[in-house]
């Protein structure tokens, strides 16, 4: 009797320690990456880094203003295209997706979710860059949007499915038409989750490089025209990190830190927005 109790204690203690160590390892990776970025990049961050454009190779100084603005524009347009399609698809899957069509859409979304981003880039090149005859930020945005849609569709679906069935029934019993039930009651209740899903999606594509390599291409100058090639932080990091100059490596670290910071800001903003939304009713 006592032996069994001891055995249980030992097993329980061992397992608890094991999962604690594993979570520590997971967090450690993040801390190491962040710490390394700060250590290597923070010293290069000054005002000029944010407001100046890159200087020709060999000259020291210069910044990544064009890449920061480019990232915002390209990711912004990608979100503009991808969010409505992704969320709409997710709502459809959750509300009407029980039949064969839903099964097919879900399957395609899952396949697309697993597609390497470089393949999406090749498609964006074939469908947009080639016919247009030149590289453009727009092609990059479309590539990123294609990556975003399946992610958003599946998370939106999951979030909507979490809304209790009783709420749907309550709305329908009150004389809500089905579409209005979906939008005013179900989607609104799932909003916090959907917004978080969008944010994760945006943050993920903000760091993508592969689909932009042969679409947005990169640009040494400041450009805001979405029909022209445009620089992004990820492309800038790629070029700088693979270049031969120490000065470039230094800038790559700094740019990586800025990119992380942008993603972090994005998640903080969304969290704040969710709290505001829920606070309004309180």
């Amino acid at each position: 009797m006592n032996g069994r109790r001891l055995r249980r204690r030992v097993v329980s203690g061992t397992m608890t320690a094991l999962v604690a160590v594993l979570s520590f390892v997971a967090v450690l990776a993040l801390v190491l990456i962040l710490g390394h970025l700060v250590a290597k990049g923070a010293s290069s961050l000054d005002w000029n880094f944010f407001v100046k454009n890159p200087l020709p190779a060999g000259q020291s100084g210069g910044g990544v203003a064009n890449a920061i603005v480019g990232t915002l524009i390209i990711v912004g347009f990608a979100a503009l295209i991808g969010l409505p399609i992704g969320i709409g698809t997710g709502l459809y899957l959750a509300e009407y997706g029980s039949g064969r069509v839903g099964w097919i859409v879900r399957f395609v979304a899952d396949v697309l979710n697993g597609t390497p981003s470089i393949v999406v880039g090749i498609f964006a090149w074939t469908w947009l860059v080639k016919p247009m005859g030149h590289f453009s930020a727009l092609a990059g945005s479309v590539g990123l949007a294609v990556l975003m849609v399946p992610m958003l569709a599946r998370t939106t679906e999951e979030m909507v499915r979490l809304v209790p069935h009783s709420l749907r029934e309550a709305a329908l019993a009150l004389g809500y038409p089905r579409w209005r039930t979906s939008l005013r009651v179900i989607a609104r209740t799932a909003l916090a989750g959907i917004v978080t899903g969008c944010l994760v999606g945006i943050a993920r594509v903000a760091g993508e490089t592969a689909p932009l390599l042969f679409t947005a291409l990169g640009n040494l100058n400041f450009s805001t025209s979405i029909l022209q090639p445009m620089q992004t932080l990820s492309l800038q990091i790629y070029v700088y990190a693979t270049g031969p100059f120490d000065e470039w490596h230094r800038l790559a670290w700094a740019a990586a830190l800025v990119l992380m910071g942008l993603v972090l800001l994005l998640s903080l903003a969304a969290r704040w927005a969710i709290r505001q939304h829920h606070g309004a009713a309180r």
Binding site: P164, A170, A173, L174, G175, R180, T189, L191, H278, R282
Partner: protein, 258 residues
């Protein structure tokens, strides 16, 4: 269709059978719910009483595989007639569920106004007075009048359920369906809802599903006893409880089964 002979008649089922796929869970039930009365549906779990009330406002057909045969007449008109829009019908028949279901993203005010707003825009003042009226009828006004803008989730379970009653009353339905409205409430909340039934029946026709026999005896004018999908007995409440005509009814109300 000719007007009903009894002018007080409002809601009636005629040989109503409710099915899930090929399985009938309510069989051939005909009940007449006179206007401005309370009718209690009693019976053991799984006897079909909830499915039965869900047929009255056409919620049953939203369930997977749900369909019916027979008729449900509201003021003499079959609510399953193709010319009747189920969404419009549900605005005439309010429903309150077993568990409180306030809309979590809406304020107290917006919850009550929800059923009105879905019927089209209306002036602010009109909305205000309708919301107040509904909350007063649900005996909740005094408790929430100073915090109408707060989230409905801030209310207690009993208050949430009365909020759901107010929400169902705001569009001024003719019939109120209560599906075990006190099942998740404490005795005080239960008493509140029961008192409401007494007051509300002067304006509405009420159908209440309940597991609580004392509750049925306390608040209803008529009681229907369901067993395995059949309507076993229907009668005036005091008669059904004091001298039931069927053996099954007597067994159930004296606690010998169910």
């Amino acid at each position: 269709m000719a007007p009903p002979a009894d002018a007080r008649l409002q809601l009636q089922t005629v040989r109503l059978t409710a099915l899930y796929g090929r399985r009938a869970v309510v069989k051939d039930v005909s009940i007449l719910f006179p206007k401005h009365t309370v009718t209690a549906l009693i019976g053991p779990s799984g006897c079909g009483k909830t499915t039965f009330v869900r047929c009255l406002n056409r919620m049953h057909e939203l369930s997977e595989g749900g369909w019916i045969t027979g008729k449900v007449l509201l003021d003499g008109q079959d609510v399953y007639d193709p010319s009747i829009d189920a969404v419009q019908l549900r605005r005439r028949i309010g429903m309150v569920f077993q568990r409180p279901t306030p809309f979590p993203t809406m304020s107290i005010y917006d919850n009550v106004a929800a059923g009105l707003r879905v019927n089209g825009r209306r002036p602010r003042a009109e909305l205000d007075s309708a919301v107040e009226g509904a909350l007063r009828q649900a005996a909740l006004w005094d408790e929430v009048k100073d915090r109408l803008r707060q989230s409905a989730l801030a209310l207690s379970g009993g208050q949430q359920q009365r909020l759901c009653v107010a929400r169902a009353l705001a569009p001024e339905p003719e019939v109120l369906l209560l599906d075990e409205p006190t099942a998740s409430l404490d005795p005080a909340g239960t008493q509140h809802i029961e008192e409401l039934c007494h007051e509300l029946k002067t304006r509405y026709t009420i159908v209440i599903v309940t597991h609580n026999l004392q509750q049925a005896a306390r608040i209803s004018d008529y009681t229907a006893f369901f067993y395995l999908g059949d309507l076993v007995e229907l009668g005036r409440t005091e008669e059904l409880f004091t001298k039931p005509t069927k053996e099954q009814t007597e067994a159930y109300i004296t606690g010998r089964f169910g």
